[in-house]
C-alpha cells in the first residue's frame, strides 16, 4: 500500500484576513521576489490542470510587451465543482488581492474576472466589494484595476483560450497552442490566467510564506485544496483538505458506508472503483482534481452515470474539431447500442480505441479528457454498461 496522509481539514481559503497588510507587504517586494516565493511554494493550478503557478507568472513577467492582462477564470463548469462560487461569495476580496499580486509580479495593470453566467446573481455583491477594494488598492499604491465579464452558459469557455475568445466577443472556440497565453493570450497580449482558488492561494502564500505553505500536503502536491463533495454522501458540501490523502481515507470521512466508486475531477476526471481506494492518492502524483468529488453508492447504475457524462460532452463540445465533435456522439451512440443489444459487447473495445484517438487528436482539453471517464468507467464497470 502507498504511503498516504490522513484526512486533515484546514481553514485558510475562507479565513478572514486583512488584505491591506498583505498588499503593503507585497508592495515592498520586487517582481522577482514575489515569483520566487510562489515558485518555492510549489503551488499548482487549482482549476484541475495543475500547471505550476510560479512558472506561469515567470513566463509572463519575462515578456517585453507593455500591455499585459491578469485573467481570473471563474467559469467553473466542471460537473461537481462549486467551490469557486463559494470562494467568490465569501472571500472575493482575497481573489481581488491575488489578482493585484499577480499583476505586480508580471507587470500587468488590468485584471478581468470571467464569471460564468450561472453565477450572475453574485454580480451586484461582487461589484460592491470590488469598489471598496479598488479604494484599498489606491491607498496602498497599486496601479491595478479589475473588471468583470460574464459567460453565457458554455462549459468550453473554462478552457483558457476559449475564454479569451469569449471575452473578445467571439464564439468560445479554443485556439491552437502554442502560442501559450503567457506569450499571446487575451487580445494577443501576454496574459496570466489563473483559477479563483489559485489566486487565493497566492495570497495565503504571501501571508504565511512558502515554507509554512509547503508543510501542508505532499512533496508534489503542496498545500491544501477546496473539495466540492456531492453525490451519495450524508454530508455534501465544501471542504478544505490537505492534498495527498488516499481515497480510502476520503471515503471513510464522506461516504455513506456503501460507496461503490468515486468520480474524481468531474466528468473530465477519473472513476475510481472501491478496490482501488486504498492505493489512490488525491493529488498531482495520483489522481488530480479541480475539486470535484462525486460519490456513487451501489444503488447507482454506472451506465446512467456514463450516459449522463457523454450527453454532457456531446452538448458542450464546441464542434470545431472532428475528433471531439464526432467522437462524443459516437461514444454516446455506441454505449446505447451495446446496452440495447444492437452491438456486441466487444464493440466497447472499439469505443475505447476511439476514446484513445480523441485523446491524441482533439484540439483542447475537452476532447482530450472525454476518454478519462469513458475508459475508467467502461474498464471498471463493464458488466453494468452491457447488461
Amino acid at each position: 500500500m502507498m504511503k498516504t496522509k490522513k484526512i486533515s481539514k484546514v481553514d485558510l481559503i475562507f479565513e478572514h484576513i486583512d488584505p491591506r497588510e498583505i498588499l503593503i507587504k507585497v508592495h515592498g517586494m520586487s517582481s522577482e521576489e514575489i515569483i520566487e516565493e510562489i515558485l518555492e511554494s510549489g503551488l499548482k493550478g487549482r482549476g484541475g490542470a495543475g500547471f505550476p503557478t510560479g512558472m506561469k507568472w515567470k513566463f509572463c513577467s519575462e515578456e517585453k510587451e507593455k500591455t499585459k492582462y491578469i485573467v481570473c477564470n471563474a467559469d467553473e463548469g466542471e460537473p461537481g465543482t462549486f467551490k469557486d462560487r463559494e470562494i467568490l461569495d465569501r472571500v472575493a476580496y482575497k481573489v481581488y488581492a491575488g489578482m493585484a499580486i499577480a499583476g505586480k509580479a508580471v507587470g500587468a495593470k488590468t485584471g478581468i474576472i470571467y464569471l460564468r453566467g450561472e453565477y450572475k446573481f453574485l454580480l451586484p455583491q461582487l461589484r460592491m466589494e470590488l469598489d471598496s477594494f479598488h479604494k484599498l488598492l489606491k491607498e496602498t499604491g497599486y496601479d491595478f484595476e479589475i473588471d468583470f465579464r460574464l459567460g453565457s452558459g458554455a462549459y468550453i469557455c473554462g478552457e483558457e483560450s476559449a475564454l479569451f475568445e469569449s471575452i473578445e466577443g467571439k464564439r468560445g472556440e479554443p485556439r491552437n497552442k502554442p502560442p501559450y497565453p503567457t506569450t499571446a493570450g487575451l487580445f494577443g497580449k501576454p496574459t496570466t490566467i489563473n483559477n479563483v482558488e489559485t489566486l487565493v492561494n497566492s495570497v495565503i502564500i504571501m501571508k504565511y510564506g512558502s515554507d509554512r505553505y509547503k508543510q501542508m500536503g505532499t512533496r508534489y502536491s503542496t498545500g491544501a485544496k477546496v473539495f466540492s463533495v456531492s453525490g451519495d454522501t450524508p454530508i455534501p458540501g465544501i471542504y478544505e483538505l490537505e492534498l495527498g490523502m488516499s481515497l480510502f481515507e476520503f471515503v471513510k470521512e464522506f461516504g455513506d458506508g456503501d460507496t461503490k466508486t468515486v468520480q474524481v475531477g468531474g466528468a473530465a476526471g477519473f472513476c475510481v472503483p472501491r478496490k482501488l481506494f486504498a492505493n489512490t492518492v488525491i493529488g498531482f502524483e495520483g489522481v488530480p482534481t479541480g475539486g470535484s468529488m462525486k460519490l456513487f453508492n451501489s444503488s447507482r447504475s454506472m451506465y446512467n452515470v456514463l450516459h449522463n457524462y457523454l450527453e454532457f460532452f456531446t452538448e458542450e463540445s464546441c464542434g470545431q474539431c472532428t475528433p471531439c465533435r464526432v467522437g462524443c456522439q459516437q461514444l454516446l451512440k455506441g454505449i446505447e447500442s451495446v446496452k440495447k443489444g444492437e452491438s456486441q459487447s466487444t464493440y466497447l473495445n472499439e469505443l475505447i480505441k476511439l476514446a484513445d484517438t480523441m485523446k491524441i487528436a482533439s484540439k483542447c482539453g475537452l476532447g482530450q479528457s472525454v476518454g478519462n471517464a469513458f475508459k475508467s468507467i467502461v474498464e471498471n464497470f463493464r458488466e453494468e454498461i452491457i447488461y
Binding site: 450561472e118 471575452i167 466577443g169 446512467n304
Partner: protein, 154 residues
C-alpha cells in the same frame, strides 16, 4: 416579438463599438427581453459594423443567448448527474404539471419557458434550477409549487 427601441443604442453607449463589446451588448438585450430577435441582431451588427452572420454566429454558440422566443421567466433545470440522481425527473414533472408545457416549450401567455441545462454548480444542494438569473436549490415538488405560484402572481 419586441421592439428594441433605444435599448441597443443605450447598450452601445455603455459598452462601446468594439468587437469585444458584442457579448455584453447581447447579454444586455437578453437580460431585458430573454431572447434575441433577428431584428435585434441586425441592429447590433449595424451598430458594431460587423456582419449579422458574425453576431448570429456568436449568439448561437452560447446556450444563454437564445435566438428563439422565450417567456418572461426562463426556467432552466439542471440535468447533470447529481441533480439527475437526486430527483430532477420529479422536478421536471412538477413543472410540466403546473405550467402545462413540456421541456423546450413556452406557456401560451408568454410567461414561462421550461428548459434543461448542464451543471450549474449546486450539486451539494441538488436538485437545482435557475429562473432567469436566480438559483433555486434543494427542490421538492412542494417547493416548486410555492416558487412558481409566486412568479405567477408577479
Amino acid at each position: 416579438m419586441y421592439q428594441t427601441n433605444n435599448l441597443v443604442k443605450d447598450l452601445v453607449k455603455k459598452y462601446g463599438r468594439r468587437r469585444d463589446s458584442l457579448m455584453p451588448i447581447l447579454q444586455g438585450i437578453v437580460e431585458k427581453h430573454n431572447f434575441l430577435t433577428d431584428d435585434a441582431m441586425v441592429e447590433v451588427a449595424t451598430e458594431l459594423d460587423i456582419s449579422a452572420a458574425e453576431v448570429y454566429g456568436t449568439a448561437s454558440f452560447y446556450s444563454f443567448l437564445d435566438t428563439e422566443p422565450r417567456g418572461k421567466y426562463v426556467i432552466r433545470v439542471c440535468k447533470t448527474i447529481t441533480c439527475s440522481m437526486k430527483g430532477k425527473h420529479e422536478i421536471i414533472e412538477a413543472l410540466e404539471d403546473m405550467l402545462k408545457i413540456k421541456v423546450g416549450e413556452t406557456t401560451s401567455n408568454g410567461m414561462f419557458t421550461l428548459l434543461e441545462t448542464n451543471c450549474m454548480g449546486w450539486c451539494h444542494k441538488a436538485p437545482a434550477m435557475l429562473i432567469n438569473d436566480t438559483p433555486y436549490t434543494e427542490l421538492t415538488r412542494g417547493k416548486i409549487i410555492k416558487v412558481i405560484k409566486e412568479y405567477m402572481e408577479k
